[in-house]
Symmetry: C2
Subunit: 88 residues, 2 copies
């Protein structure tokens, strides 16, 4: 079994009002060390696949076909790791 | 400069209606290899800190004090990495 993380963020250059709000109203009241905040979506898939590549490809297929993100405005990052128990 | 990722998910045992909806209405129409989907919040901080520990502690402080998550229902994962350019 593989854990595949899909992280969706607004592209650089596209405003991120949620991140800006978190920075202005939450972060900046606590510290001045945080220079930027970006907020996004996190989706974790548990995938029964034979290899990291297969797991990655399944997640990509779902994300692309079902429009988990909008390629015009979002960048997407996909990370795979094998689950330690390795079980089913 | 450090990138600190804060990932907030519902705890195991607490239902995740968004993840369930993504699974049922998006994922399961494409593949039967995905056994579970969990949806969560992703927040990326760019922090001007002297060390990984300091960056981690700043992010933790913000997350705890400003209730970026609700400890009753959420688990939070914080990951730090040094930015490659190392610049300010």
């Amino acid at each position: 079994m593989y854990s595949v993380e899909v992280i969706v963020l607004n592209k650089e250059g596209i405003r991120d009002p949620e991140g800006e709000a978190i920075k202005k109203y939450m972060v900046d009241k606590v510290t001045d060390k945080v220079k930027e905040v970006r907020a996004g979506k996190y989706v974790l898939f548990k995938i029964d696949a034979g290899s990291e590549e297969e797991a990655m490809n399944i997640a990509k297929k779902v994300a692309d076909e079902k429009r988990l993100y909008n390629p015009i405005v979002h960048k997407v990052e996909i990370r795979v790791r094998k689950d330690e128990d390795g079980g089913h």
